[in-house]
């Protein structure tokens, strides 16, 4: 009786929890930037607003090197929307930013004008 109750409860819990997992904000797999493979980029969609301004997306640069990196990034979406910025990331650290873009994902991600400052 106890065992079947536990299984039943676990089943109910799964039903409740699974949709939450499915709809939670998920990071995409990290992809290296073209021109600067030490920095990877992960993206997640916060709010899909098709037909309005676009999609609200958050992205995360992760510096996997042991140097401080300063670079200009250029992220181009599948709808040809371009996001540009220049950021400094210390070693083994991440920075976050976000914007509302046209398109659903970034297809091309470039880094240029890279300045590498080795750790002391």
């Amino acid at each position: 009786m106890l065992r079947s109750s536990l299984i039943f409860c676990a089943f109910i819990l799964d039903i409740l929890v699974l949709p939450v997992g499915a709809y939670s904000q998920q990071w995409s797999a990290p992809r290296p930037l073209t021109g600067l493979p030490e920095v990877s980029l992960s993206v997640r969609t916060i709010v899909a607003q098709e037909g309005f301004r676009g999609n609200a997306v958050e992205w995360r640069f992760r510096n996997t090197s042991d140097s401080t990196l300063k670079f200009t990034y250029r992220l181009i979406s599948d709808a040809a929307d371009t996001i540009i910025g220049r950021v400094t990331i210390r070693r083994q650290r991440s920075v976050y930013s976000g914007w509302v873009i046209r398109g659903k994902r970034f297809e091309n991600m470039f880094a240029e004008d890279v300045i590498i400052t080795p750790a002391k």
Partner: protein, 641 residues
Amino acid sequence: MLSLRPQNSGSALEGGPELWLGSALVWFLYFVFLVLLVFGALFPDSFLWGIHIAAFLPLPFRFGLMILLLALPVFSRKYFPYMLKVVPYSARLRAPHYIALCAVAVLGSLVFYSARISTNMYGDTRTLLLILAGKKYTLADVIGWHDFEPLTRYIHQGISFLTGLDQREVYEIASAVMGGFFILLAGWFGLTVDGSPLWKLFILFAAFFAGVNQLFFGYVEDYTPVYLCMFAFLILAWKFFDGKNTLLWMILIFIVGIKLHVEMVLFAPALLYALLTRCGERYNVLKRWYRPGALVAGILVSIGIMAVVYIFVFHAYKFETGDNPEKARKIFLPIFNNLREPHGYTLFSLSHFSDIIQEILLAVSPGILIVIVFSLVNWRFSGWSSPRVVFYTLAVFYFMLFDFTVDPLLTPMRDWDMLALIAPSLTFLGIALAKPWFQSPHPQAHTLLGVTMGLALIPLAFFYVNSNEALAADRLRNLGVWGFKSYYSGSAYMVNVGCSLIPDRQQEIAERERIIKQLEPHASKPDFELGFLEYKLGAALLSNRECERAISYFGKALEQDAYNASAVKGLAESLLFTRNFEAAAREIAPLNEGINAAGVNDFEALEVAQVAYFGVYLQSRQASSVVVDNFLEKARPLLIH
């Protein structure tokens, strides 16, 4: 005319029993009140917050108020005869009376609606509307016990569904309509009760000019239906002690009232007393249960139970953190408060007693308080031991106990709505106590009625001030300053609401700066309330494009509370608009890592980061200032809301 001589002795027919000072005492209390009113007007942010109303009236109105306050009682004998002509001597009303009463009720509803309290959207109202937008109330909710005011919400939501009107409008209209019903009910009671016409006039003034009316019949909250219900309950109690068979109706209204708002439960001891007196008529053995000794013992036991609940259930005797969530959870004032003076208010702080009296002054027609003090001084002739007065005293006592223990800064936006429900009980206690003074031609009858009329101007002044947004905002700011120097937590919210209602941005900024400078000498270290105000001033400066000064105030706010995410964001935004893009990026990066890494909580902070990174990019490309300016102007609507 004014008579300060000691009252005559003699029989009741000649002028009633010998009283201590008689009319002179009434005049003395009245003049003390007027002196306090003047001091309140001179120092609007002082501890006299409950009678500072004259400070917010335009100058002509202020002088008019003072003249009327003196003239109305002094010349009362001149105009009373005209007023008494409309009051019937008998307890039966005729058709013209009912028609006139209905006309006054309709007019009252219109006045209540058109002069709605202008701060009615502050405090808990937004929360209430959000709850109603997110949940459909059913009869199961009404019957259940998980909500404090389910029937009120069920009714208002139902009306909104049926009429298609916005929920807020339904509350506003329903409150005003209930004001009309209140006028009908109070008018009918005052005119049909058995007593002298002067006393009937007193009842009408006490009921119609209770301060609580301007609060409950012109705003959006859950207290209006229960106020009406309480008034009906107390009328039925009056009839019960007149020998009418209304006990079952009282019980029914009591049960319905609890579902309208849980504060109705504070009538339980009084209702129990009424039940015992009824049962005692049949069973002699029960009579000893409502003798004075038994009543006092019962009150002591109930206080003991409440003390246990206060200490062991609410853990309210001390603050653990003293933050707003803890205060909202516990709702009661602590006995121990670790904050330093002047923020260390506790349940037994001396000033807290004056605050309770001022809360009461706001809620009732102030003449009622004069009658109660007068009756206390002349207690031997006041009928304190009559069952009716005992009933109303019990009702007042438990409401008073509740008001005494609750943190007053929980509901100050609209004059202490949660605490104002004491008004009906106090009004009826005052009416019951006043009856002997109006039965025979006592000289003090005219004096009492005259000062009650004069004091009725004070709630009218509150009505005027609270329906005018600019005046209400001014009053709220002064209340906030007083709150900062007393109960502290929550005071900044009041100041902020008062400032945000100033339409001119420059004036708003100047007023915010003035108040911060005024509060700084009383600040704790760190001071979260002051930090909140400094952050809000920074935001106002940023909206006004005064970025350098905004940076300074955001910095001050972060000195008070380093975890104020809004201040961090404001600081970064100000840095953006001074073209310090690198600095803005440095400020915003830890915030995004802290609050947007696990899941996005603040998308605006991410946008601020992107604007900063793009700004750095533009500067690295040595873009012209025109390009940078254009970019910032385009980004501005996204960043500053």
